[in-house]
């Protein structure tokens, strides 16, 4: 799975430099850059980021509260501090990692690798769960979200979240693509499609 990174930093020079290093790594994409944390939550949702790199100086006194809140809202998000000048340990403690402005390219690369494997991001890996397989089979057979929800006795919201996970794990977005995937993996039969 590719990592989707959002950078929240006011200096264009620093943000661009960091983005360049991260983009040079095959499994990372910088999906958004913003100068202030105001619309960070919406941006994370819109860009489906799983790693946020934030300069704590932008958060001021609300630093700790903001980071904790963000972690609650996005449990799969790794939140990393970008330390552009010396910061006290207590400021950095809510973050799951720190990138320092003096870090070399190779240091940043090895840290990014480490962050992407932290608990938050690897929570569930590529294997589809039993429930996800059930949803996949239903989607492949052409059922609508509402029908699937009724059949499995779950809410539409849960169906949608299963579908998101299926797409993230398989890399396949379209219904027709998922049907082929299900057939190739012998989850359904040609005769199921009639």
């Amino acid at each position: 799975m590719r990592n989707r990174v959002i950078i929240c930093e006011a200096s264009e020079i620093i943000a661009n430099g960091l983005a360049e290093v991260i983009d040079s790594m095959a499994q990372f994409d910088v999906v958004a850059r913003i100068e202030s944390p105001e619309h960070l939550n919406e941006k994370i949702t819109a860009s489906d980021a799983n790693l946020a790199i934030i300069n704590p100086l932008l958060l001021g006194y609300q630093n700790k509260e903001f980071v904790n809140q963000l972690g609650k809202e996005f449990p799969n998000l790794a939140i990393i501090a970008l330390e552009t000048s010396y910061l006290d340990h207590s400021i950095l403690s809510p973050y799951s990692g720190v990138i320092e402005i003096t870090d070399t390219r190779s240091k940043i690369i090895s840290k990014m690798n480490e962050f992407s494997q932290s608990e938050a991001t690897k929570k569930d890996d590529v294997e589809l769960s039993k429930r996800e397989v059930d949803v996949l089979v239903a989607v492949a057979k052409g059922m609508m979200n509402k029908e699937i929800a009724d059949l499995m006795n779950i809410s539409i919201h849960t169906v949608i979240s299963h579908r998101k996970n299926i797409t993230r794990k398989t890399g396949i977005k379209s219904v027709s693509g998922l049907t082929v995937y299900a057939l190739l993996n012998n989850l359904i039969d040609e005769s199921d499609l009639l």
Binding site: D23, G171, S174, G177, V180, E190
Partner: protein
């Protein structure tokens, strides 16, 4: 995010522009610009071919950097008469060249798949092709473009407005990406691997191209048509 950025000026030699980003080569035929341009500048070559250099450059910017969003005020100053012919030429290139090329490769893979996987792959592609044709040919070419041409002649039709425009390229790209994933990750490895690598490279290129094409439609065509609509009484 873009890896590389060329800054584009009319005074730059066309050959240098292309050396900076070879993707731009594919724009030339769509603008009707022939080869043999020697060491002429972008401006000169555009003038010789009756192409607005401003329009040419702005489309080049989009190809160089897909996150580039043109400035709406600047767009208002640009001669857009070449836009529709450009989009038509792009469509023709996709429908008459890229998709048949893809299909030819895919056909060989489908045959090699045998009765177990062949028919479903073929069905997947046929459905996809129908969707592409529906959007590009039966919708854009037959509904949207004639509407714009009528606007240019000062005629207003009540049956359509550009704010109804279907942004359907996302779906066309999604299925294309799915096709690549199926070819690379999920079909059994021993079925024509070389052919599958080749076709995947073509798919990535086409997917990038379609991505730029929809940026052009969303950020240049739509504002342009809105201004035409507003200019009519």
């Amino acid at each position: 995010m873009s890896k590389k950025k060329v800054h584009l000026f009319k005074e730059t030699k066309l050959a240098e522009l292309i050396a900076g980003d070879r993707k731009l080569l594919q724009l030339l035929p769509r603008f009707g610009i022939g080869l043999g341009f020697g060491d002429r500048s972008i401006e000169e070559v555009c003038r010789m071919n009756n192409v607005s250099a401003d329009l040419f450059l702005i489309l080049c910017e989009i190809y160089v950097d897909s996150s580039f969003k043109p400035d709406p005020d600047e767009l208002k100053r640009i001669d857009m008469s070449g836009l529709l012919p450009y989009l038509r030429a792009s469509h023709q290139y996709y429908l008459d060249e890229r998709f048949p090329h893809l299909e030819e490769h895919l056909q060989r893979i489908i045959e090699a798949c045998g009765p177990k996987y062949g028919p479903m792959l073929s069905h997947f592609y046929e459905e996809y092709k129908k969707e592409v044709m529906r959007h590009i040919k039966f919708y854009e070419e037959e509904v949207v473009f004639p509407y714009i041409e009528a606007l240019l002649k000062g005629q207003r039709t009540d049956s359509y407005r550009i704010d109804e425009f279907e942004h359907n390229h996302t779906n066309i790209q999604d299925v294309l990406d799915d096709m690549m994933n199926i070819l690379l990750k999920y079909l059994p490895g021993d079925i024509l691997p070389k052919e599958r690598i080749e076709i995947s490279l073509d798919i990535m290129e086409l997917s990038d191209d379609l991505n730029r094409h929809s940026v052009i439609e969303d950020h240049i065509l739509i504002p342009y048509v809105e201004s035409l609509e507003n200019a009519l009484p």
